[in-house]
Symmetry: D2
Subunit: 265 residues, 4 copies
């Protein structure tokens, strides 16, 4: 499928500072950026810190005052839903070396704490079947509810609180996967049919011979995700990291089947 | 300087499982592995998950029963002490792309929590002078004392507890550096003159145009460190990650000027 | 001094439930309630769970729909500022039995974590001089700033974050006192001259032969505090504990020298 | 039933300091202390900070060097097992005023965090039936296993870790009860038939018109408990609080049907 995506961000920077942007569509085996434009108003130099190996695109701005950042792209996505369920678990020695980091506990995914729970609850399953059972468990035991969590909430918090938003669902899924020796990471994405529209956070697991996107909230089809960045957890994939101070003025993310993006806030 | 290093680990694995080893000397601009041997007794297949880009060497074993792992190497180290103090802080846009991850909070280094403290206490300094001031502060405010911290202790805990061991000192230094927009990571190393001998944990900061090793405990000269692995914090550089269960039987790390390693426990 | 105090609370209770109110002026050696009225609109039964030993007054309502709660009182306060500084520390064996609980760590005051800090920083002082030094330290190292903390913030968080509001300042002061074997508790109070007007949270320490109020924020004189409730920390002195769901409609606390309360929001 | 109990503690105090002891059998409606002796060797003054209202007995020592503390008592206990299951939940307004504190979150029992879980899992039950269901849930989902928890472990940790010892089981039960508006507290007790013998930690809930002991570990009958102290959580009922430094030399707690205590370590 072909999608048009749009990010439209306006911020005030009271003092000149640098800002790292993670809003551009990634290049990868399952998505091709057909065309794109990144415009900064007023015009500003954009330094690139792209990670070509991962296909991840990062821009660094050095700005002051009110700045409007607009990113628009057309992206072809080739990805099917749910197919990971038949993929098998991979022995540690057969993993690509850069998957190892995604087995380890991270700031918001203290996976070592979930080992006993994972073994007690899902101990008879492995690979894709285990991931599917874990995602199902999360859907049955958590309420999707804004306001319960904040930017410091960990998977441990969410497991107790039994509620959260997309990043919390992703963090819990990632934690239980890692506790099951399945590499898992967080991915930010434009998400077709997500309501209300926003940059989405989902999980990605390594099974068989590749990474598979999984949305533990069940709110958006993975075939309609345009991926931006991957990381250990939300700390790595923030769409804007300000090395100074910024105040939000307006912000919107949009995605539509190619032919007509309708902008939303 | 040329060093002989030795790791000698004996563990019992009640059930067959995989183990990731991070005990081999890294290859890098400041150290050259002259010769080395890794022996597993009884003999076992060793899979390699080396990260050639980083020069980091990782072995994966698949073992059961009592296993003795011995690693011996001779390594030339070219590194001077303390020289980082004159190196300048680097703008975000001028960092190598793979340094970005070391600006972010991690499991044991929740650096976002230290921003106000870093600004209040060291706000007039930057770059190497700031790192030196922070390391000095840590030395004056923390007691080096085993038994206060455990494997779950974070830099936040250590900042309150005012005591810990090498990994805790490193975590706090790393956190305050990142809170100052200075990339910082954790490094495991064989440490000449460290008493008692053990695998050491130190910090590494990016200043000027390269990474610099820093030992916030002041217990070992960085010119005598043989580095093994680097990561966001201790979770990344554990010398042994067991994907199952293992029981320690005996364990020793040793380092000496080339010519005679005397084994120690 | 004589004060007029006023609490005026309007809440919606979507489902009938009980609510515990801690808004009435306490009776005690240093304050005398001259007159008071508590009115509930629409009228509702008020059960009393007063703690006569402590002089603490607690009302329990059982309400549904929109409810307005008004409490007005005239109170004589006899208390001087700062006099605690000459009072001595009390041996454990000489404490009243009900002061023991205030030596122990509590939810928001994990005082056991501050023992090394307290000893390193204030080890040469005891009693009132030590409390004064600790309050001074807090004033120099913390920013009074709303928005940094939330209802789950502990003294450990505040010690790292270096900012907070009155309850955070009180929690940190209480923690360091208990870590110094000085009984300390949290007190809610109407606070004359506090800007903006609100129910205030302060600390209270046991020295010499009695309890002394201390405001670590320095924002209100203790001679102008009309105390309501005391407890181990903020969890004990919430002015409203709803055993169900309530939504704030409007809320105001006011205090003035007797003769004219001017209502504020 | 009549029990003989014995505590035999030997500690070294390198520097003279005070110690609070909570090892003496409480007086109460369900247990009568028939005879008792407390001996300190070498002899030392014992100050009493008893809480006569609660029947709780507290001794304060001021000692230095090696000290042996022996407490022996004969106690009649009148208490039946399991009878709480038919007792009803009590409205807040009908609680005794001193039960209110046991509805609030405490250090190791952050009960506010369990409200959604309690409502989702046990929402159709109340009173004794709800407590019974919660205790049953704990038994099915937690492993009794030393070594997983430590002195800083909270009910939130235990809920995630799915394992712990008696104090952890008690903390989780207490937290879920409070999250269900049922007053709950921690009690230390000599526990007949507990293996291995030790001072036990259990929960106590307020239902109907009184407090009921409950052992969430199921390891000891409540009819064989000789209660010592009650509090919000383990922080309140530590059998020894040292206001200084002490080193354990030897320690034993024992209980037997009257006629013959056999000492155990």
């Amino acid at each position: 499928m072909r999608f048009d995506i749009l990010a439209d961000l306006t911020y005030d920077f009271p003092i000149r500072c640098e800002t790292l942007l993670l809003i551009e569509a990634a290049q990868g085996p399952d998505q091709l950026v057909v065309s794109e434009t990144l415009t900064i108003d007023p015009d500003a130099a954009v330094a690139r810190l792209d990670d070509d190996g991962a296909g991840e695109r990062r821009a660094v701005l050095d700005t002051a005052g009110r700045v409007r950042i607009q990113y628009a792209a057309t992206v072809d996505v080739q990805r099917e839903d749910g197919a990971y369920q038949d993929a098998g678990q991979v022995a540690i020695r057969d993993l690509p070396h850069d998957a190892l980091a995604y087995l380890r506990p991270s700031r918001f995914c203290p996976s070592d704490r979930f080992e006993r729970f994972a073994a007690r609850e899902f101990g008879t399953l492995s690979g894709g079947a285990r991931v599917a059972a874990m995602v199902d468990w999360i859907g049955r035991h958590l309420d999707y509810q804004p306001g319960v969590s904040n930017s410091g909430t960990t998977a441990l918090d969410t497991f107790v609180d039994r509620a959260g938003v997309c990043r919390d669902f992703a963090h819990l899924a990632i934690s239980i996967c890692r506790a099951s020796d399945i590499p898992a990471r967080a991915v930010s994405a434009y998400a077709w049919r997500l309501e209300p529209p926003d940059l989405h956070a989902v999980a990605e697991v390594y099974l068989g011979d590749r990474w598979w996107l999984v949305d533990p909230t069940g709110k958006a089809p993975v075939s309609g995700l345009v991926r931006v960045a991957a990381g250990r957890d939300a700390a790595d994939i923030a769409f804007m990291s300000v090395f100074g101070t910024a105040r939000l003025v307006a912000q919107a993310f949009a995605i539509a089947e190619a032919g007509g993006v309708s902008k939303t806030a």
